[in-house]
Symmetry: D2
Subunit: 356 residues, 4 copies
């Protein structure tokens, strides 16, 4: 079904934005792995940072692990964590519940579920559900780390402000930096990006962006040709993040403008090991890792919830209507989406590694 | 495994480029559907067109249906088609079999399969396997057509030459045109595109491009939130096509540069039906169709096989080497990939439709 | 993974006997179905009845639905229910935690999970987890009932005491009776069965039995040949119930002793409809329902936990040891397993129905 | 879908009895394994032995491997084998094609596939399709053998004639004997069994039987609790064999008559290794192997095709009818089913082993 992902490592996500709780069950984790719950909390805290980089919102929604961990270690049984929904303000949604918000899933959910879906706060479609991905990814990241594999990401762009791309390899310093502040490589772009967001907010508008992710430390030979390749699997989980509208590996769309002689990564020996001088393929050839870092970018559309008046339709009366969305909305989801992208990638990579 | 895709409609692809045969089994087709084999042959012929648009190569590799069809109709049992491999020239590969071709899966396959993979012609990684996707997609397309659903595609760009994008809707004339010639919307770009390819070939080089695909006639409410959405499923099968390095839905990466007020598609009533004035979301909101055409673009890297000398490593001796690829190679796979993209999409859409 | 079952209707079970909670997520339920939670509570109460048919144990472990239900109806999103573990007495297990209980999964879990599994009360292997199956099955049963499909079961035997088998069809009266008391068809066997259990308990021993289950009201044409047939799917979920060691459909093992002329069910017209005079095949031919009730029997081994001294091995010290299991154990799981069998069957049938 | 089985090792079966060919694709095999095709042919030949143990029918239907093997070794890509259908006599079926044969899938297939299924010879439901299972199982058996794992089976009973059960362990001599003649442990029962079959044939009737299967050499810790356990997986594939109506592990149904003290297998140390003195659980506790051989029995109903007149319904005219089945039919499928059972089990065990 839609909310279960994976093959040997599987996550099953449940919950609705304004229901009692959201949560996730992870199947297929190795037994006996010591979980660092403080590290998980830190990982999750990064998702809470507000888009305007003000101090993180005070949320007490720490996940409660209710199974799969015993005496601090994974038991090998399904690991489930619950996050209770507190302080939900459903009244904001009551007024507009039949007005399909442009860019949101209100209308499509209404059609698919014949109006029975929990519309409050977007229900199961809410960005809040990404907290479950982040929790699961935080767990998977720790296991990957124990294998020497790191998943890092930065904001490649917000609106028209661009960060520099990852170099061939990310230094340990950079990895630490990206997990602990405004996640950009070139610090000079932080302020302009924040300004881009602030401007959009001031205009009662929102803005999109791109996140670039790198998986380093993964050996060659992971993945498969055809349909269970690295790109297929990462793409299929990344499109599970709300607002993602595109993904590209290595040079991606830019490669389509190049000649083969410009795009091919030639192989060379470096201290006896095979690697490439460039990484235009993003670490994946024929669906299988080549030993270079996996690199991809995900495009996020601007937050559909904007304060401006918008035209829409009332799905109940089937009449044209004008919508004014109240409440505080994130003018740019990209900043908070960085740990969601790394988390989803960590889940995919651990699943890929569990296949022989 | 890697070569099985789908949930309720499943395809299982087998074969290696220079082995005895390649083929595909389709599970989950409805029973009693009358197949038009001539139409299938025409669909498959489009994949054979040479990259330089010279007359199609004379290939006698028509698929032989060996199960699942009785008295001209699907039986409901698995439908298998085999295409025998004739006229393979494996000797071309013998000389370079341990030299990893840059941009190809030679090295990654060697590592994953410990050197036991059939390296001849790329083996199971060969672009030839896309004939299986095309066959399966041709079958699925006929079933979709009987439901009023059409899947069309055109070359959005080759190298630096761009076609115009799809309009909001594709006319029936355009659909026919795209299935029966050089698949571009603006005929004026055909010659420059072909020149781009010819130039690359003359330079012993290759060139990439982008294919844009549209699914029209699909009703709202198809798909799922999270991981089995329209985007996840289409992406996961499209990345099964060799050389694809990116995919974007609707405005995709361009949406990341926009404001919400620019990107949101407002809902309106048209003759009592809900639709949108723009289709920046590519027909998908929250993983579910909104009744507008599904639109996406796939980026193809330039063919990795180029005639120029390239540096690489001999995986047997673990020494640096120089590689010269002999034989005739397609300087641009994009033209031939158009029916592969529509076929893969048709399979994905039929599978999406089979889920309640 | 091991704790996820199903294709279009999927359940994901989590939790350990002495952890914080157990629970289940159901994916793929139709949206807008009004759930009768009182009926669910009644269904679940049947699992709590003690093996000696004394009054049901006072347990407050009612499931808390935390997602997938809004205003009393299913939303179409994953439906999750949690049952918190209260009053667990883990100390009973502390003393014997390295002594593998014969007939239990202690040893096999220890090996598989390298000793990291939560051994308390059997952890994820505990019969307590069947409460999750019962909850999910109670939900599915209501949906089936709305389609006119009923799943009933009775105790076919306990030890050497046998009930009569189901007739060709179960009356509505019988269905009600079986869901609301000691579930036997012939009331005269109730007392002897209870005596069989009491005798075993008095001997510090346990006893096994057989449960017979009938799915009535299901139309012909449901299921598939080969591996997704009715028998494959029901068997694969029924073996998920602890202590089940066998399953047979229709005459099952008895059919193996017969001649074809004795076992074949001849077709006949009854009021214009095709049915059979006998139902030796248990309603399934070639994996597909034939319109007669589905009938199968599941064999339960005697409870492995018995109060007698038993020989075993200490998995820590790798030495022979003598084990004395303390605490109150059900001398016969069969009585309580009746709703577990019907629940698991209801899940399987709903999943079968969701496939085209 | 119905004709694909497995998770990490997957088989996809296709073909219809009187179509062009049948075949199977195996996904997930390790690369570089040297296949002994002569051994495969021998394995497959055992399935061809006639039920009366006359000389095997002369069939030239050797499988043609068309992918996945290169220079005698598995390549890691999908391995497909095709068996062409020769000498089919479809005319036998023409006369009775609308008369549903009792005990066969004719009627259920007609309903499910709306009459579009290939009815000739049972189509995709035919016992002939088990040749595909045997091929795939022969391949998997060789890989298992290289790991020290053997899968053997014998006829436990035909009609009312019983063989002795497997002892705790099967000797190498017994394993060889069972793979190379009439597969019984006690040679004295061979003649009576053959007589049972001959008598049934003389009476224009058929007879059923039971096959017992043992997997030896498998280490403890393989499998999972809940739904991916050894019993679930073996049951789900074994019910894919036509005519199977029951399966039981260890003592199975007989265990349901016992006390816990009789049925529990006590653990002991043998030369430092943990094992049990008895194997009443059939080598599986909590879905996971305990290091003892896996033992199960599968019940086969008598062949439904019998030469006697039978009552049935004409599905076209919806009228009662009398059916006389012509042609040569196997009066007992059990003898030929022995390698089918071991083959299916080998596939299941290899898949179980591929899960971490």
């Amino acid at each position: 079904m839609s909310s279960i992902w994976g093959k040997n490592v599987q996550i099953s996500i449940f919950g609705e934005s304004h229901g009692k709780a959201i949560g996730v069950t992870i199947n297929g984790l190795q037994a006996g792995f010591p979980l660092d719950t403080e590290e998980i909390a830190k990982y999750m805290a990064r998702r809470k940072a507000s888009g305007t980089l003000s101090t993180p919102r005070k949320e007490d929604d720490l996940p409660e692990i209710i199974s799969g961990v015993f005496e601090g270690k994974t038991t090998g049984a399904p690991l489930t964590a619950i996050i209770y929904n507190n302080n939900t303000k459903s009244s904001d949604y009551e007024a507009i519940k039949t007005l399909a918000r442009p860019g949101h899933a209100d209308y499509t959910a209404f059609v698919k579920y014949h109006g029975a879906n929990d519309y409050r706060g977007g229900g199961h479609f809410s960005g809040r559900l990404t907290a479950c991905i982040v929790f699961a990814g935080a767990v998977c990241s720790q296991i990957l780390k124990s294998m020497g594999i790191d998943v890092s990401a930065h904001i490649a762009s917000i609106g028209k402000v661009n960060d520099v791309p990852f170099s061939l390899y990310a230094s340990d310093e950079l990895k630490v930096k990206l997990s602990d502040g405004f996640p950009v490589i070139n610090d000079d772009v932080a302020a302009p990006m924040q300004e881009e967001i602030a401007n959009a907010a001031a205009d009662k508008d929102s803005v999109g962006g791109v996140i670039e992710c790198m998986v380093s430390g993964i050996r060659a030979g992971i993945g498969s040709p055809m349909f269970d390749g690295v790109e297929n699997k990462i793409a299929s989980i990344i499109f599970g993040i709300p607002a993602v509208k595109g993904i590209e590996f290595g040079l991606g769309f830019a490669a389509s403008k190049l000649r083969g002689s410009e795009n091919n990564d030639e192989f060379s020996l470096y201290n006896g090991a095979i690697r490439t001088n460039t990484n235009n393929c993003g670490g994946v050839l024929g669906g299988i890792t080549n030993g270079m870092p996996i690199v991809f970018r995900a495009a996020f559309k601007p937050t559909p919830s904007i304060a401006r008046l918008q035209h829409t339709v009332d799905v109940k009366t089937n009449e044209n209507a004008v919508l004014e969305i109240k409440g505080r909305h994130d003018p740019c989801v990209v900043v908070r989406a960085v740990p969601v992208v790394t988390a989803a990638t960590a889940i995919a990579v651990l699943d890929l590694l569990s296949e022989i």
